[in-house]
């Protein structure tokens, strides 16, 4: 990690509180696939299941906000920022008298879009680079590992800023590109390590002996066996991306109006802190709950999927 990353989850696993595994040896265990087994282990982790429920709700809100928000995002002067929460405005109003809930809903959409799309693009780039480096080794590995090493040395903020400045037009695509460029290295390193180990295994040798093409060995034999750690890492990329986007927006380099990023909402709320606290608290809590939910899911997935942890 890191990256800024803020790289927020370069940690070893910390199992969230949950029930320890209990195995009943009195009956012969039925045969289950790796994924069924993982799902079973995942289900036992109550915090992760709660995370899934919360994440599902947020996703639902995000989808609804595409078609409907209680008020238009452009509708100003609905009331005053100091008005108490009411049935018409459950989360009150901002300084321009716009409905806070509507912004919050659209913010969920922005956060999930940025988080999910960045995780996908980052994973694709990182997996490709890692597979190539680990599988072909030699100069390919030297080149890719060299780029990752230098990439770690270059501040991700700088790259993000420069991309946003050079394109000079903040848009969701630019934010995603900026985030992807700065965070693919962790995934590349992970996949490279996995590939280096897997390429020596017998099934890869067998595939090679039967004349399977390199590309097919990589995608059909190596990649599926590395999928567990990759999924775990990709899950943790989502909160990282959301966090970084909120950070950029907070600094004023995120999405243009009226795309309401939660980070931008906190930032503008900070400006109105002498009038009311809810314009800071509401988006901040939304951000916090979303990130915690995804991190809990990631922890559960790590316990369920990461073979180093499987005991």
């Amino acid at each position: 990690m890191s990256t800024i990353t803020t790289g927020l989850n370069m940690g070893g696993p910390m199992a969230p509180p949950g029930t320890p595994e209990e195995v009943d040896y009195s009956v012969a265990p039925e045969q289950v696939s790796l994924w069924q087994d993982a799902w079973r282990r995942f289900r036992r982790n109550k915090l992760s299941m709660a995370g899934i429920v919360v994440f599902g709700l947020i996703a639902l809100i995000a989808i609804v906000s595409i078609f409907w928000t209680p008020y238009s995002l452009f509708q100003q002067g609905l009331g005053d920022i100091t008005d108490p929460f009411s049935r018409a405005h459950p989360f009150g109003l901002d300084a321009s008298g716009r409905d806070e809930l509507s912004f919050l809903m659209r913010g969920a959409q922005v956060a999930l879009e940025v988080g999910l799309l960045t995780a996908v693009t980052t994973s694709v780039v990182g997996i490709a680079a890692g597979l190539l480096a680990g599988f072909f080794r030699g100069w390919v590995d030297t080149l890719i590992s060299g780029i990752t090493y230098i990439g770690y040395g270059i501040p991700n903020l700088l790259i993000a800023f420069l991309i946003l400045f050079i394109t000079n037009r903040p848009s969701i695509v630019n934010v995603i590109v900026a985030l992807s460029v700065t965070s693919w290295m962790d995934m590349a390193r992970l996949v490279r390590g996995q590939t280096l180990a897997l390429r020596e295994r017998e099934f890869v040798e067998a595939a090679r002996a039967t004349g399977t093409k390199d590309f097919k060995i990589m995608t059909r034999h190596v990649l599926p066996n590395a999928l567990g750690p990759i999924i775990v890492q990709a899950t943790f990329l989502i909160p990282q991306a959301i966090l970084f986007e909120a950070f950029l927006s907070y600094l004023g380099f995120g999405l243009p109006n009226p795309d309401p990023s939660w980070g931008a909402m906190v930032s503008s709320g900070l400006g109105d802190r002498f009038l009311a606290y809810h314009t800071i608290m509401v988006p901040a809590l939304a951000l916090l709950i979303t990130l915690m939910a995804i991190n809990f899911i990631g922890d559960g997935l790590r316990d369920a999927l990461d073979p180093r942890q499987a005991k």
Binding site: S2, I4, T5, L8, G12, F165, L251, L291, M292
Partner: protein, 308 residues
């Protein structure tokens, strides 16, 4: 330090220098390719052209690059275009001093809180203490630094009205709040790592032996277990430094600390070329040295690791 370690360190130092060169060149070219220049041209086009001429900004980019790199090697980053023509190098050094104080205090917070929380959670595994601390840890690495800072300002305004009035920079009692806001998210990461690796270590035979010898709990945990448990934790030293620096961008803005943090954004906005390149090069070197330091600490903590 063995000869192998020395060679290894020398190689890595070269790599750090290489990275610094790549970063400074790339930053220089990129920031010069941005539209606009440091001077406000709308109101005073003639003066603007004159300023650009005086500072050599009309020269071909490669000529500027050569001059700039030559000066950079000599530690001269030129003149700041925005801060009334101040010299960039002393300006950055002064700001770096403030950032350094804040950063070091934040790292102390990170290490203290991270170690204590991690150790206690591991020793009390699967009790309510562990559950509480673990939930706190997930909260810690989920909360964005700017949200935490904002919460802390509001909280301190409510709980410590006298203290809150002194938010700013200059006297020692103003340091703790920004340092905690900066260090706490990373403390959560450290705690998570310490807990995981402590759990690994306290199950090992030599720890059982230590208990069997009748040593006190403190000696077993701190002298025997913690020493080995720290090895994987040291890995995050590099990312930690990076994170503290990046985090300081927001924290310094919120708390009004006159440090490097605000320059990360402002210098690019102002097209203050010397500051941009100097700042990001400095940052790249710092990250490289932090990573190198981590790799050199490994063999001290674990004699089995050796650089041939």
């Amino acid at each position: 330090m063995s000869r192998g370690t020395a060679t290894y360190a020398a190689k890595r130092l070269l790599l750090v220098l290489g990275t610094a060169f790549v970063v400074s060149s790339a930053t220089f070219l990129l920031v010069h390719s941005l539209a606009g220049n440091p001077f406000t041209c709308e109101r005073n086009p003639a003066g603007c052209a004159h300023e650009a001429f005086v500072h050599g900004l009309d020269d071909p980019l490669l000529v500027q690059y050569r001059t700039f790199m030559w000066n950079l090697v000599h530690g001269d980053l030129g003149t700041s275009y925005v801060n009334q023509g101040a010299q960039v190098t002393p300006l950055l050094l002064k700001e770096a001093g403030n950032s350094l104080i804040l950063g070091l205090c934040a790292i102390i917070v990170t290490i203290l809180v991270g170690l204590v929380v991690g150790i206690v959670a591991a020793v009390r595994q699967n009790t309510w203490v562990d559950y509480t601390l673990s939930s706190f840890v997930v909260f810690g690495y989920s909360v964005p630094s700017f949200v935490l800072a904002t919460f802390m300002i509001i909280l301190s305004a409510i709980l410590l009205p006298n203290w809150a009035n002194s938010i700013g920079w200059g006297s020692p009692e103003q340091i703790p709040i920004p340092a905690i806001a900066l260090g706490l998210p990373y403390a959560a990461i450290v705690a998570r790592l310490v807990r995981a690796s402590m759990l690994d270590v306290i199950r090992q035979d030599y720890v059982r032996t230590a208990w069997a010898k009748g040593l006190t709990g403190r000696v077993v945990i701190v002298r025997h277990a913690l020493r080995n448990a720290l090895i994987p934790v040291v890995t995050i030293g590099g990312p930690l430094v990076t994170g503290i620096i990046t985090g300081s961008v927001v924290i310094e803005t919120i708390f009004g600390v006159p440090g490097l943090g605000k320059e990360f954004v402002n210098s690019i906005l102002n097209r203050d070329y010397g500051i941009v390149v100097g700042l990001y090069t400095f940052y790249a070197i710092l990250v490289g040295l932090a990573n190198l330091g981590v790799d050199l600490i490994y063999p001290v903590l674990d004699p089995r690791i050796r650089y041939a």
